[in-house]
């Protein structure tokens, strides 16, 4: 698989991927990012304060999103979209999937804050935080960019990428979704992958 930067992957996302030999998900592919390019091992802190790994957290097909709770506009849109997609998958396809909300603002997003945030959206959405180093390492694995805007006080904003990644246990990255994807689009594409597992 070719390793592509996200910016480049974005430009290619609309182009359908050439069918790869023995790609069990060939009929589902909407993007051409190889599974080697995105995602990987992480060590983060869960909603009870325990250290967890990707293997602990991704035990079923999982939507993984990186954001911050101080953001009231873009991140909740994505999280609400993901929550609806989870419900649609369950109703239309009988697939239960999970979701992770990983903060890129660990200084403000403590264990309690990310848990409360994720709970607003879906009972199976789990909020994860970590040390600055743990978050940076996880973000790097997923090729997530984030940068706090300078300003100094507690009301600072953070610029960041807002992709949602579909991860499959034992397989890894399957697909990514932009903010513009609807709940239906996320649900339908995810169902295709799960049906081909």
């Amino acid at each position: 698989m070719i390793r592509l930067g996200l910016a480049m992957a974005g430009a290619l996302a609309a182009v359908s991927a050439p069918a790869l030999a023995q790609d069990q998900f060939a009929e589902c592919r909407a993007s051409t990012v190889g599974e080697a390019a995105i995602g990987g091992p992480f060590e983060l802190i869960d909603e009870t304060g325990n250290t967890v790994t990707d293997a602990d957290m991704i035990t079923r097909p999982t939507l993984v999103y990186f954001g911050y709770t101080f953001c009231p506009d873009a991140c909740p849109l994505d999280s609400a979209r993901n929550a609806l997609a989870m419900d649609f998958l369950e109703e239309d396809h009988g697939h239960e999937i999970d979701a992770l909300f990983i903060t890129i603002d660990p200084a403000r997003d403590t264990v309690d804050v990310v848990r409360d945030y994720a709970d607003v959206f879906h009972p199976r959405m789990i909020g994860l935080t970590g040390s600055e180093e743990q978050i940076a390492a996880a973000a790097q694995q997923y090729r997530v960019f984030y940068r706090a805007q300078r300003g100094g006080d507690e009301f600072y904003l953070v610029d960041h990428t807002t992709f949602t990644y579909l991860m499959l246990p034992g397989i890894g990255f399957a697909e990514f979704f932009r903010t513009s994807a609807t709940p239906d689009e996320v649900a339908e594409l995810t169902a295709c992958y799960v049906d081909n597992l």
């Binding site: 709770t69 109703e91 804050v113 409360d116 607003v120 904003l157 990428t161 807002t162």
Partner: protein, 172 residues
């Protein structure tokens, strides 16, 4: 607690409150100020609305005030793959005869420093819009659920969001 305070204050203006989702000053009509519920530990809330300028002169929304440590007019901007919010400098122009919407993923009012008093569904969030020419206008944001109340339950009426119509073929 904000709800109670406002209910008391709003009682005096009862005839007006009957149309609580529309507010007017001068040539401006403000429709559907809404907000969304927040987690209990949230530090920010959001406000959306649309402003119609029925006059023949451009108007500018220069400030928004509310009872929070900081209130700002923001715009969410996506540059390539990076999303960021920024302060709308110099105010938001409402051209003559036009409607400008503050809506998710675009312009929004950001209430910062909630400090342990989250926005709850059906709560009223009072605020004041300050326009360059028309002056001040008190409005009320109605807090709505973030996701329809059925989320997390199955077999319920998610069809509210015209979903089932699109998927009859999936009946497995």
């Amino acid at each position: 607690m904000k709800t109670d305070l406002f209910a008391a204050a709003g009682f005096a203006a009862l005839p007006f409150m009957a149309f609580a989702d529309e507010f007017a000053v001068g040539d401006l009509v403000i429709s559907d100020p809404i907000s969304y519920e927040t987690p209990v530990t949230a530090q920010t809330g959001v406000g959306y609305l649309s402003i119609t300028n029925t006059g023949d002169v451009d108007e500018t929304l220069i400030d928004v005030r509310a009872d929070f440590p900081r209130v700002m007019l923001h715009e969410t901007i996506t540059d390539g793959d990076i999303t960021r919010m920024q302060h709308v400098m110099g105010g938001l122009v409402i051209p003559a005869g036009a409607t400008v919407s503050l809506e998710p993923g675009s312009f929004h009012i950001m209430f910062m420093g909630l400090g342990g008093d989250p926005f709850e569904v059906n709560e009223d969030i009072p605020a004041t819009l300050v326009f360059e020419t028309a002056g001040e206008l008190d409005i009320v944001f109605k807090v709505e659920a973030r996701v329809p109340a059925t989320t997390g339950q199955t077999g319920t009426d998610m069809s509210d969001i015209d979903h089932d119509d699109m998927h009859e073929e999936d009946g497995e």
